[in-house]
């Protein structure tokens, strides 16, 4: 919360009447994925992530403020505060312009979601960079990056240059469609589906959590080089990166096995959020992601890299299938719609959901890889953008996470970590280099 308000100008032309905003419902429900975040978020795990763009020249603040204001009105589902109801949290619309903040040194800024009048996203600017920190209550990585790129496109227009239209870009002059507000999980919910298989608790990295410190290490490499290596091995880029991550986790596990405090668990499992808009047609700009969870079990013996690759490849192909994804939707939405769950007062739900998040969320995973994939922007805008960045928020249980995004031929891997040790990052980047992929490493942001 250390960012300072950079401009108060927005307040002058704020307070648009609600009726002038399209789809002017005064409040709406959290989507199914967001339901757990108010209960599970805390100061050490704020359920926030950052998307970022680096431009080719220093940002002009006034033009950016105008662009942000226009896009804020275009995306009323993000112009909300979190409110407590009797049984559920809900989102209440507001008409305040988002103020620009100075981009702080911290990798992501926590958002005090339960503070009255607190916006659930924050636009920050520093030199050539524009970053948006977003509470997961609002949207997932796809929605946040699309919003940011649309802001940048509008910014470029505001400084007098043209940007060709693209379906990816939100048109600030258009009305938001009702589909953008949609809770797509509910639309695709089938009540008669069985639950996904239960998962056993997974290994967690050792290490002492640094007091109030969250740091990142980013590695930059060529998309074509990584694609070449993964093609040689017959897998996708995401599968290749997952295998590298699992191999690095197994190396830390092996190292810990030779110390006095042995690892208690031997299952290495990754949590990989998947944008399921490609499986289910929807326009939603809110959360619409599910998870796949490749794993290896070291009780079965050591794994070679090729064995890990095979395990990841087949697990992802099996789990990334509409029938399997439907089971996740059925479990999540079914739980929400259950009459018993619905009548439990919110203060009890908070306690229970927080427990569930720890016990059946973080407890089941050793690491997280979130791959936003290539950012799709028109060529004339591409000329103004020199890099994109993506950083996941801190997690005190899993301790490290990996955010992946690419622009053109540059692939950026950003490790976030709440612990000092960095052997996981070291092993992964060294393996990439040994596979013939040149890597540039920095501890600074993009």
């Amino acid at each position: 919360m250390g960012a300072k308000t950079m401009s108060k100008r927005g307040a002058k032309h704020a307070q648009t009447p609600a009726s002038s905003v399209p789809n002017a419902a005064e409040w709406f429900r959290l989507d199914n994925a967001a339901k757990i975040f108010p209960a599970s978020s805390s100061e050490v795990s704020p359920e926030v992530f950052r998307v970022m763009v680096t431009l080719d020249e220093p940002v002009r603040i006034e033009a950016l403020q105008r662009a942000v204001s226009r896009l804020a009105k275009r995306t009323p589902y993000y112009q909300v505060h979190l409110r407590r109801g009797l049984f559920w949290y809900y989102l209440e619309r507001h008409n305040q312009d988002p103020h620009l903040h100075l981009l702080p040194d911290t990798p992501v800024s926590p958002i005090a979601i339960k503070r009255p009048q607190e916006p659930l996203y924050r636009v920050q600017v520093g030199d050539r960079r524009v970053a948006v920190d977003v509470s997961h209550i609002l949207t997932d990585g796809y929605g946040a990056m699309r919003f940011l790129i649309s802001v940048i496109a509008e910014y470029v227009r505001q400084i007098g240059q043209s940007v060709s239209s693209s379906p990816y870009l939100l048109d600030p002059d258009a009305e938001p469609s009702s589909g953008e507000f949609e809770d797509a999980y509910k639309r695709y919910y089938k009540h008669d589906q069985p639950n996904p298989p239960a998962l056993s608790p997974a290994y967690h990295l050792p290490g002492i959590r640094a007091w109030r410190r969250y740091r990142t290490i980013s590695g930059y490499m060529s998309v074509s080089a990584v694609r070449r290596v993964s093609k040689e091995k017959g897998v996708s880029i995401t599968e290749y990166l997952c295998a590298l991550y699992l191999e690095a986790l197994a190396a830390v596990h092996a190292k810990q096995s030779h110390t006095r405090i042995k690892p208690r668990r031997s299952v290495m499992r990754l949590e990989i959020p998947v944008n399921v808009r490609r499986f289910y047609s929807t326009e939603t700009m809110r959360n619409f992601s599910l998870f796949v969870s490749p794993e290896i079990d070291l009780r079965l013996g050591g794994y070679s890299f090729d064995e890990i690759l095979r395990a990841v490849h087949h697990a992802m192909r099996t789990q990334l299938e509409e029938k399997q994804l439907a089971r996740q939707i059925a479990r999540n939405v079914g739980g929400e719609l259950n009459p018993v769950t619905r009548v439990v007062p919110l203060f009890l739900k908070d306690i229970y959901l927080s427990y569930l998040h720890d016990r059946f969320g973080d407890n089941l995973y050793s690491g997280v890889i979130s791959n936003l994939g290539p950012v799709d922007i028109p060529q004339d805008l591409r000329d103004r953008v020199s890099a994109v960045g993506f950083v996941l928020g801190p997690n005190p249980i899993i301790k490290k996470n990996l955010a992946v995004v690419s622009l053109g031929d540059e692939l950026t891997l950003t490790f976030g970590s709440v612990i000092e040790r960095r052997d996981l990052e070291r092993t992964m980047f060294r393996t990439l280099v040994s596979h013939g992929v040149p890597v540039t490493v920095t501890e600074r942001g993009t």
Binding site: N195, P206, T259, G335, E336, N338, F429, R430, V433, T440
Partner: protein
């Protein structure tokens, strides 16, 4: 750009050390690995436990010394301080056993039972008067230890789920209430009379059965507590 000869990665020119291995970067050819890198493995794994035991020992030692000095300074003998000293030693043993043995219940549980018995015996000896340890404290602690041990063994051996373990624990608590009333009856000279413990046992069994019933019904419907409460 500099290159770290250890990791093979390129690093920005103005950095003096590689962000991955802390090796000092001397120009384009890289350099030696940093000391932090060498120490990183073992130290981070062992430091928290050793540090915690050291802190606990220091705190316990200081507290014991202060209590001892306060008592000894008055009459050059130990009187009341034997009780807080026993309590300090007991607290230290229990905490260290939990830290060192962790989740190894097979070792931890007997160790905690033995420490509790030793503590109560020392209180009985220091207090003088009638011997309440063999007829009151010993059977109470042993009964509790046996019941808890049985629940842990059953839960682990059979792989019970959380609701089943909770149900079993409720049953064990009811049995303990009956045992407790019998022990108290023997100690106070009214053996064999049961009153309040029967109510506790009946309530515990009823709750336990309700829990088991709900759990079983949910399983039959291919549901579970996890599903009902929105996992």
């Amino acid at each position: 750009m500099k290159t770290c000869s250890h990791c093979g990665v390129r690093v920005e020119r103005d950095l003096e050390r590689c962000p991955l291995c802390y090796a000092r970067l001397n120009g384009a050819s890289g350099g030696e690995p940093g000391e932090e890198s060498e120490r990183e493995g073992e130290a981070i794994y062992t430091r928290p436990v050793v540090f915690l035991i050291e802190i606990l020992s220091l705190l316990g030692g200081v507290a014991a010394l202060v209590v001892f000095a306060a008592d000894f300074a008055v009459g050059f003998t130990l009187s009341w301080s034997r009780f807080p000293l026993s309590a300090i030693v007991y607290a230290w043993v229990v905490t260290v056993a939990i830290i060192v043995l962790g989740r190894r219940a097979v070792l931890l549980w007997p160790a905690l039972t033995a420490a509790t018995l030793a503590f109560l015996l020392s209180l009985n000896l220091f207090a003088g008067g009638g011997p309440w340890f063999p007829s009151l404290a010993l059977p109470m602690v042993v009964l509790a230890a046996v019941l808890i041990g049985a629940v842990i063994a059953a839960a682990r051996g059979r792989g019970f789920s959380a609701p089943a373990v909770l149900s079993l624990s409720l049953g064990a608590a009811g049995v303990y209430a009956v045992g407790l009333e019998l022990i108290l009856g023997f100690y106070f000279g009214t053996p064999g009379r049961l009153s309040w413990s029967i109510v506790v046992l009946a309530s515990a069994i009823a709750l336990s059965l309700v829990l088991l019933f709900v759990h079983t019904r949910l399983r039959r419907r291919n549901a579970s507590f996890e599903r009902v409460f929105h996992l």
